[in-house]
Symmetry: C2
Subunit: 265 residues, 2 copies
């Protein structure tokens, strides 16, 4: 049985891989960062679908038994299509995050922040309202959070000023729960939490997704857990392996090890 395949536009999905690794130590995973085309957040639906298909194909060639779309934008635009087209289970990050938000809110007012694509797609809003039709959902794109996290500016005056600019309206909107609807955002959790105040619960899609992954894995054959610890985690990128290893370290919390370059069209 193959590994868990995970893809993201770049390093952000490593927060999902990290959370899965914590929940399922020893499970083999192969991660693909589409760094030649990163970011997906401002790109169109059609282009994101095309890129997501290419990433999925590349991972299927590596003998995976499950695919995790660890990118909110790709989950928003391409999840249904990949589920239709692929023979392995396909999990995204939006449904788990939406479920956690519904479970966390007390006043039925939920906020969602993400890329322009994720917010425009309405995917979180749609799933949350499917779960609880009366739910009040407000969503806002925060494009600068991604480059901030990649730059490593996760504390201090700059991220606080950016968070203030994006989230000030949200503070007045009465939400008691905020979904971090982009895999980069957990790195800014402290700043976002400080800006929103203690009374707002933050929902991390990475954490929610890893829980669902663990549930699906437990329903599969136990041989999924690798015997070969050396090949447990493999990292592929479509561009700049060194930069990925360097920035990815911050997302993973430890050294990444060798990163393989793969070609993609």
């Amino acid at each position: 049985m193959g590994a868990i395949g995970i893809f993201d536009s770049g390093v952000g999905g490593l927060t999902v891989l990290r959370s899965i690794a914590e929940r399922l130590p020893g499970v083999p995973m192969v991660y693909l960062g589409d760094t030649a085309r990163v970011p997906y957040g401002a790109k169109s639906r059609d282009t994101v679908i095309r890129y997501a298909r290419a990433c999925a194909e590349l991972l299927l060639e590596r003998d995976i038994s499950m695919l995790v779309v660890a990118c909110n934008t790709a989950s928003a635009f391409a999840l249904d299509i990949l589920r239709e087209e692929l023979d392995v289970p396909v999990l995204g990050v939006i449904e788990p995050g939406a479920r956690d938000a519904v479970a966390a809110t007390r006043n039925q007012c939920v906020g969602v922040i993400g890329t322009a694509g994720t917010v425009r797609s309405g995917a979180y809003q749609h799933i949350i309202r499917q779960l609880v039709p009366s739910m009040h959902v407000v969503a806002k794109a925060c494009p600068l959070f991604v480059p901030l996290a990649e730059e490593g500016w996760t504390e201090g005056p700059v991220p606080l000023a950016v968070a203030g600019e994006y989230l000030n309206d949200f503070r007045e909107s009465g939400i008691d729960t905020l979904v971090l609807g982009c895999t980069h955002y957990p790195l800014l959790r402290q700043v976002i939490g400080e800006t929103m105040g203690k009374d707002v619960a933050l929902v991390d899609s990475a954490d929610a997704t890893s829980r669902v992954v663990a549930e699906v894995v437990s329903s599969m054959a136990p041989s999924l857990v690798s015997q070969d610890a050396d090949r447990r985690l493999r990292f592929l990128v479509t561009d700049a392996p060194e930069a990925f290893a360097q920035v990815g370290r911050r997302f993973l919390g430890h050294d990444i090890g060798p990163v393989e370059w793969v070609d993609v069209v």
Copy 2:
């Protein structure tokens, strides 16, 4: 005789197109923004070269008689290769900017800001020292300036805080001239100028490049100036035409008009 072909990773090169249009009113231009793969700034040399070749090919199919690489990162990595491979004159933005910097400095201390790729390539440093070997050049990557300009946050506390973070060291370095080595940066000119102080001259590659373009055009046949005003400016993108038109408006200073989607590999 064909139009002037201009390409950039996205909207940034519109500052170059705008400057050329001001200098050469009526000259036909076709602009390509590679928005399906934007940004180039953090990508590797090989990948940027591949994308630059694809953009050049696409424009050559549109019957251009000159190619302007209106992207600092692509100029840094791909200019020599495109000049070797193409039959039309190829102009980049780095040499003109470097020349203007050398002309502007009084104390032979020049600063360069740009993307990670542009700074890492050493292209500005190399050309400036070729012109004046004794020149002291300091360079710094400012990755957040691009998303700030695209978000339209060109004044107020956030860009000032970001500029302060990036440029504070520069202020102590004694430079009297700073090259805005990325086509997005002219939009942040006021904030950058405020941060550096009045005694530091800012060099805009867009302006320097349009002067060189005008020189080359004047050496070519006068039929280059279009008779058909309606087809004077054409805009192509590899993704999301509407978003390009919307963000590009800020860069061009007026409405863009119809934007054509083109496929690219």
